[in-house]
């Protein structure tokens, strides 16, 4: 607000820089062609001056005349100055400041009081620094005689501004609300008195329609009347004039209420201003009665508040013997119901300035009052003092924004303690003084923020780092499947045969099973990592041997091996696949034992047969070399058989080298097949 005001002024000043104008007097010389209008304007100024001098009640009227004249001639310094002074009284203050600057622009010596009044305008606008500067400027400009007269007043203004600067720094936590057009009018409304449950508000108003409809010639405002308004769940009902016999043709103001709410204290003009009381009986207010002496004096008594028990009364009086102006007094009622001689509350409360608008809290020791003294920031401010240890504490300004640089008076607090009511002149006013509601908040509170961090890193990981165990190795997943059909070599008849599965490494028979007697089919699964011998046996047939050397690394595969068995007959020839020799040598390896023993069994089962063992090689190496090797290897087999008790007469051997291949020699697989031992039945 204050900033905004400065801004307006700034714009205004700059406008004037560009349109430097001179003071234009209301004279025929200035308006030679407009004599009649000039006359009119001069008359308006005269009327304005007349109403201005009436006092506050007619200042609005004065303004309307001045503005008319100003319209005719906006460039007269004195007229603008007068307009500014009007606005200083009835507000808004920013209008006052605007016209002060216009006046100054036109004539910077428009008035010797210029700085003083402009200072007051800034003072009221809470621009305390500027106000102090101007007050000081004004003080320096005074002649010695004037300085003596004005010095105290100016110094007080300056200290008020200093108070204001302090107070505005620490605003009190309240929300101030205009009581609204239900209560306030464009005329002065003040002196709110609230009952304990805040359902009825009594107040004083100088509005139109007052009893007698007459104005006080001192200020040209209507005489005071008492009104009340009732609270209707969400709003204050339009105020009702409390009427006769309380309101009279002159001043009647409500100033207090008994603790039980059944009596009100009234101010009346009589006898210099006295306090009266009226009791409510039923729906009727009794005729007000003066509290009489010693409460009332020849001076003015104009505010009062009962103690909680109704037996004590704090009141305001300007009777002689005080500290100056109006002071606060206290009187107690004796047992006969008579008021005792009032006591001045003393120097801690009362100052040489006025103290008015007294209000005592139901706690019996907290006093609120308005004062022009103490640490006011301007006009009347509201103060609070508590009675402790037999004395009144130093009054404390109840603070900004309740108090302003203007008059803040008639403060009272509801029984709940949550609301205050008082009269003030504020920007949102309806005109004149208005009644305001003060909502007290508790001490300032700071809402709590909630924040969090992710302090522990592992908690940010999506899962716990628990260990999963790995897959188990399933050995059977890698096998070689050998399947086929076992048939008679000659007839092709499907045969039921025993199949021995031998671990050649150990010679152990791992398993023996049979082919299907109907289909002759068999399946053998051979897990990787072994050298297997398979021997197929059937009654009256020669055994058949197969070798499968399956390394650990070999993957699943299937081999179809159809086996045809031969009868034990002359000319039958069998490859001995499970007979092994050391590399390039004729030494039998131990893997051969199993097969050799089968051969031994066969020869024992058929004791008459004679056989020839033949050795065969692949093509690697020379012919002679292979011939010799094959012969030696065949001999080694025969030697083994002899060592197992087979007659040498039944055995012969021959080496064929690579002359009888059974597979091409160009692959390792083929060469392996060609490296073999065979036996042939030569007689039975």
């Amino acid at each position: 607000m204050i900033k905004g005001l400065n801004f307006i002024i700034l714009i205004f000043i700059s406008l004037n820089i560009f349109s430097q104008t001179k003071n234009v007097e209301f004279t025929k010389e200035s308006f030679p062609n407009n004599i009649s209008q000039l006359d009119e304007a001069l008359k308006d100024i005269g009327d304005g001056d007349y109403y201005y001098n009436d006092g506050i009640g007619n200042i609005e009227v004065a303004i309307s005349f001045y503005l008319k004249a100003n319209q005719f001639n906006p460039n007269n310094a004195l007229l603008n100055y007068k307009i500014a002074l009007c606005y200083l009284e009835v507000k808004p203050v920013n209008q006052a400041i605007k016209h002060f600057y216009i006046a100054q622009e036109l004539d910077d010596r428009v008035s010797s009081d210029f700085n003083y009044n402009l200072a007051r305008a800034y003072h009221l606008s809470f621009d305390f620094d500027k106000a102090v500067e101007l007050y000081r400027l004004y003080k320096r400009s005074l002649k010695p005689a004037d300085l003596t007269a004005m010095s105290d007043e100016i110094d007080k203004k300056i200290s008020e501004c200093e108070n204001g600067k302090e107070l505005i720094k620490n605003p009190v936590r309240v929300k101030i609300e205009n009581m609204g057009s239900g209560v306030n009018s464009r005329f002065p409304d003040y002196g709110p008195i609230i009952n304990s449950d805040e359902s009825i508000l009594f107040f004083t108003s100088r509005r139109e329609g007052s009893t007698g409809e007459d104005k006080d010639i001192n200020d040209f405002e209507y005489y005071e009347d008492i009104y009340y308004s009732e609270y209707k769940s969400s709003y204050w009902a339009p105020p009702v004039n409390i009427g006769l016999p309380i309101n009279s043709f002159t001043h009647d103001a409500v100033i207090g209420m008994s603790p039980d709410g059944t009596s009100i204290l009234i101010y009346r003009d009589n006898n210099g201003g006295d306090i009266y009381i009226s009791k409510l009986s039923g729906l009727k207010w009794a005729k007000p009665k003066s509290l009489g002496s010693p409460i009332n004096s020849n001076g003015q008594e104009n505010s009062g508040t009962f103690t909680f028990d109704g037996k004590g009364l704090y009141f305001v009086s300007d009777r002689p013997g005080g500290y100056g102006g109006k002071d606060i007094y206290f009187s107690r009622m004796n047992t006969d119901g008579k008021w005792l001689e009032p006591m001045n509350l003393g120097a801690s409360i009362n100052t040489k300035y006025n103290e008015i608008g007294v209000f005592m809290l139901p706690d019996g020791r907290t006093l609120y009052f308005s004062s022009q003294g103490h640490k006011t920031m301007g006009g009347y401010d509201i103060f609070k003092s508590t009675f402790e240890n037999g004395k009144w504490s130093e009054p404390v300004n109840i603070g900004y924004p309740i108090n302003s640089a203007d008059n803040d008076v008639f403060f009272s607090i509801s029984a709940s303690g949550r609301h205050g009511y008082y009269s003030s002149v504020r920007d949102d006013g309806k005109g004149g003084q208005d009644i305001y509601l003060v909502n007290f908040f508790g001490p300032e509170k700071y809402p709590i923020f909630n924040n969090e961090d992710n302090l522990i890193a592992s908690k940010e990981a999506a899962d716990l780092e628990v260990n999963m165990e790995k897959f188990e190795k399933i050995h059977t997943t890698k096998l070689t499947l050998v399947k086929g059909q076992i048939t008679d070599a000659l007839t092709g008849e499907k045969l039921l045969a025993q199949i021995d599965l031998i671990d050649n490494q150990t010679g152990e028979i791992l398993a023996t099973f049979e082919s299907n007697s109907a289909s002759g089919k068999y399946i053998v699964s051979l897990p990787s990592g072994k050298n297997y011998g398979i021997a197929v046996r059937a009654e009256d047939y020669l055994f058949h041997s197969e070798n499968f050397d399956i390394p650990e690394s070999s993957e699943y595969h299937e081999v179809t091996k159809n086996i045809s068995l031969k009868h034990v007959e002359v000319g039958s020839e069998i490859a001995l696949h499970n007979i092994f020799f050391d590399y390039k040598k004729s030494d039998l390896t131990k893997e051969s034992i199993s097969e050799l023993n089968r051969l031994v069994s066969l020869l024992k089962q058929y004791p008459t047969i004679k056989i020839e063992i033949s050795g065969h090689t692949d093509e690697i190496g020379g012919e002679e070399y292979n011939q010799t090797l094959s012969t030696q290897r065949a001999k080694a087999v025969v030697d083994y058989l002899i060592s197992k008790g087979i007659s040498s007469a039944r055995l012969s051997y021959v080496g064929y080298g690579f002359s009888k291949p059974i597979a091409p020699n160009d692959t390792e697989e083929g060469r392996q097949q060609n490296r073999r031992s065979e036996f042939l039945i030569i007689s039975k």
Binding site: K175, R418, N439, F441, G442, P443, K445, P447, I448, F449, N450, N451, E452, D453, N454, L455, I456, A457, S458, K459, E460, D463, L464, E465, V466, N467, M468, E469, K470, F471, E472, K473, I474, H475, T476, L479, L481, L501, L510, A511, F513, E514, S515, N516, S517, A518, K521, Y522, I523, V524, S525, P527
Partner: protein, 358 residues
């Protein structure tokens, strides 16, 4: 060797069924004899369990591990994996009994470590400590540093920050690039109000792993504490850049903006936090506070209402709502909120009630 042969025989018999369709009774009889012996049925079922686990089908995986354990009651790995599946389902207590069994059968550093983690998760701190110590004793080079690290975490959770720092030190001694341990040690130092030391550790953690958004967040919060608001905003922003849905960092940054009276930015951050996580009561509460500071009391109350509807036991939200209601001169409402806040353990609220409520 013997085990191997039994397996082998089973295989043969299996194919024997195919080969000898006309002699079923004989074959069946033989199979019975063989299946009582050790074989790989349990292992196969166990392996299927792992496959199901990897597909996130935990119930089905558990069923497989159950079956494997039924066939092979001393199958330690099956217990471990069943435990792991239960951990995934947050059935911690059940997982513990599986770990107990696994440890009884085959005690290992891994099992101790895992059980320690679950116990830590269940806030069974003494149990967790004993497991991590057993894990360290087992001298598994990979698990030693993590076990020390978690001993740090266990102590951190119990607010034994000095102890925690010692364990984080050991974790770092065993693994010099252990970014988590640096982060956590920084946090422990933060709790001990050793802010400069904390910042050092956080910086190291970020050097080791520049992707750790939460470390940026933590670092920012330390900077906020020491009044480096600009630094805090920079770091919260880095956290958000790394993890665009990091609503916690948005909420935190908003609070710093508010300290700087940058209302628009603060409100935007709180709102963003709410957009990401509509159930984030803190962000509603803080946005309410921002609006309170703007004297937008009605709007603030709406946010507190939201916070309370998310968490009806959110004491601070009641406290704060009461403060805004006071400013709207809703005396009954503010007193009711403060009373509720006090009943939820907010001491400040009690002061307000005593001072201002009948």
């Amino acid at each position: 060797m013997r085990k191997w042969i039994f397996t082998f025989i089973l295989t043969i018999l299996f194919f024997g069924i195919m080969a000898q369709e006309n002699k079923p009774s004989e074959v069946l009889d033989t199979i019975k004899t063989v299946s009582a012996a050790d074989n790989q049925t349990a292992e196969k079922i166990y392996n299927q369990g792992i496959v199901l686990f990897q597909q996130g089908k935990y119930d089905e995986a558990i069923a497989q591990f159950n079956e494997a354990i039924k066939i092979k009651p001393n199958f330690a790995k099956a217990y471990i994996n069943r435990a792991t599946s239960k951990v995934e389902q947050k059935k911690y207590a059940e997982s513990i009994s599986d770990y107990n069994m696994a440890i009884m059968l085959e005690p290992s550093a891994k099992s101790f470590f895992s059980r320690g983690l679950v116990r830590y998760q269940m806030k069974d701190y003494s149990g967790a400590i004993s497991d991590f110590n057993s894990c360290i004793k087992a001298n598994n080079s990979e698990l030693k540093a993590p076990a020390y690290y978690y001993l740090g975490c266990v102590n951190f959770d119990q607010k034994n920050y000095d102890e925690a720092i010692k364990f984080y030190n050991s974790a770092i001694e065993n693994k010099a690039d252990y970014a988590y341990a640096f982060n956590d040690r920084g946090s422990a130092k933060k709790q001990l109000e050793q802010y400069q030391e904390a910042l050092k550790d956080y910086r190291r953690a970020i050097q080791l792993n520049p992707q750790m958004a939460f470390t940026f967040n933590n670092m920012a919060s330390v900077k906020k504490k020491i009044g480096d608001l600009e630094g805090a905003i920079t770091d919260y922003s880095s956290a958000i850049e790394l993890k665009p849905d990091y609503y916690i960092a948005y909420n935190n940054r908003g609070s710093v903006y508010l300290l700087k009276n940058e209302f628009d930015k603060a409100l935007a951050d709180f709102t963003k936090a709410i957009e990401i996580n509509k159930d984030y009561a803190f962000a509603y509460n803080n946005r309410g506070n921002a609006k309170y500071k703007q004297k937008r009391y009605e709007d603030a109350i709406k946010d507190y209402d939201s916070a309370i509807s998310i968490d009806e036991n959110y004491g601070f939200a009641y406290l704060n709502r009461g403060i805004s209601k006071e400013m709207l001169r809703d005396e009954e409402g503010s007193c009711a909120d403060w009373k509720k806040a006090y009943s939820l353990g907010i001491e400040t609220a009690h002061n307000y009630v005593q001072a201002q409520c009948k």
